[in-house]
Subunit: 336 residues, 2 copies
Amino acid sequence: MTGINRKFELAVRPLGMPKRSDWNYKEEPAREPNQGELLVKILYISLDPAMRGWMNEGKSYVPPVPIGEVMRALALGRVISSKNLEFAVGDSVYGRPGVQTLATSDGNGLSKVDPNGSPLPTYLGTLGMPGMTAYFGLLDIGQPKAGETVVVSGAAGAVGTVVGQIAKIKGCRTVGIAGGAEKGRFIVDELGFDAAIDYKSEDLRRALQTHCPNGVDVYFDNVGGDILNTVLTQLARGARIVICGAISQYNNTTPIKGPSNYLSLLVNRASMKGMVVFDYASRYPEAARELADWIAGGKLKTREDIVEGFETFPETLLRLFTGANTGKLILKVADA
Amino acid sequence: MTGINRKFELAVRPLGMPKRSDWNYKEEPAREPNQGELLVKILYISLDPAMRGWMNEGKSYVPPVPIGEVMRALALGRVISSKNLEFAVGDSVYGRPGVQTLATSDGNGLSKVDPNGSPLPTYLGTLGMPGMTAYFGLLDIGQPKAGETVVVSGAAGAVGTVVGQIAKIKGCRTVGIAGGAEKGRFIVDELGFDAAIDYKSEDLRRALQTHCPNGVDVYFDNVGGDILNTVLTQLARGARIVICGAISQYNNTTPIKGPSNYLSLLVNRASMKGMVVFDYASRYPEAARELADWIAGGKLKTREDIVEGFETFPETLLRLFTGANTGKLILKVADA
């Protein structure tokens, strides 16, 4: 008896914010592992802004999730049955099993994590895809130099919190853009950002002028839209913009807003470059080591926003797009 | 007696296309050179898209032309009187004397050119600012590799003609976007581009798919607007976009159009970078030597569109924005 697998399949391609009716919730017996396979009990599912893009039709950096299939998601779990020599019952594993509670796998794409090294949720956050995104996006594309000014949007999110803290470690003036006073206090008081801008209540352009008197040298963009467009007006000469995401635009039902101030790139000899973290896969171990050292040394703080209850998936996912989460949003499915 | 200087001063900051009433035409005696000064008879005035930007208020890479002052322009002339030891009567000189027929100068910013080296107008085109812009924009920012596909807009213009020919010299597949069948024939039949796309009569996206089957590796953008936005949909992985100008937007009376497809930079790990040719001033001689060698070797053809008559300046300038010119637009003021 393998137990009952609960899962969310993509039922239709959402228009705008995904609704519960865009999903099919199903319960069915998990498939018994064949020779070479193993069964994973999912403990934590990673909820990431990129998931919204994977739900759309059309060419992107990964194919869309097919209609009728389990929603793609990164997750952490524990092996509860194994006919695969590389995995033993009790192993903690990380991979992309999707939004389900029991996953039968041939082990491809699964990797073991050390549950004594860090708390498990950290492997989905600062030591997982968001941490890698922050690390390579900021350091490889943004190339911040000590004394420069780094601005990051979505600053209280999974990627933004890490970007800002790495920028501080590298000796930069660090300004975070986030929605609401509470997030601002968090990134300044707890994470050590030099300043926070509440885009919901402040005039962003004026606030940037105040907090970035020499202009913006590196802008790490997680949000797109009006915020990107306004930051473009405050670039320093030779500025680098890292295009990591555009969460403000993912649920648009009208055409996406292009940055009408893009000619600031010309005036300021600046660049705007896109990045996809998967390209850095061969260098993840190097980044994970350095991030873990910073965590151990107290220079880098991790923060997860853990919501319990597999059945809440459709609503919990939306916290990313309403700005409800602070830190890495994780759906807790079961106790370890 | 120095003679009568004719000049166009900027009277008001234009809204949209500059009208004749945006200029003050004046005739007054040229100022006698003092000790250390010289008097230049202007022969050819360079008409460049960037001039439209210089007429606007606001921060850019150079200050705007002040109202009531002679319009800024590059030009070529002949020294007709000199109290400056570095210049002799008869010297051909290049500089930024502005839109006037006689310029008294202290010699700052003037350089001598060799009238036997190349025809004088070439020093305003392929061996002047447009040529330098093409050379450094394509090679330094675009970094084309042999076998890659290079697309340039404004392909029949002063910069575009040089960009496309250098791309061919570097072994790239070269596709030019220009308005009208005649320009298309010119860049393919006379300049050796692999293909031309007439954006006025063709579906640009489909034409790019036809002529760039492996996507666009380098896009040299002179025009902005819808063309930039459409090219963004056809990028190859790792593509480089050179933002050189946005001639389609310079006379806008409504807000500029941002490239709504900019997230293609993310999907394709592509970059978009602005350039201002003045940054490369120290390397102009190196570029001029190489360009002159290519011209001498028959690999690089020059083309000027020379309009006679100083008094036509307000209308001739508009040829840049209506797409009337092919090659470098030059206003001929006097015979050598």
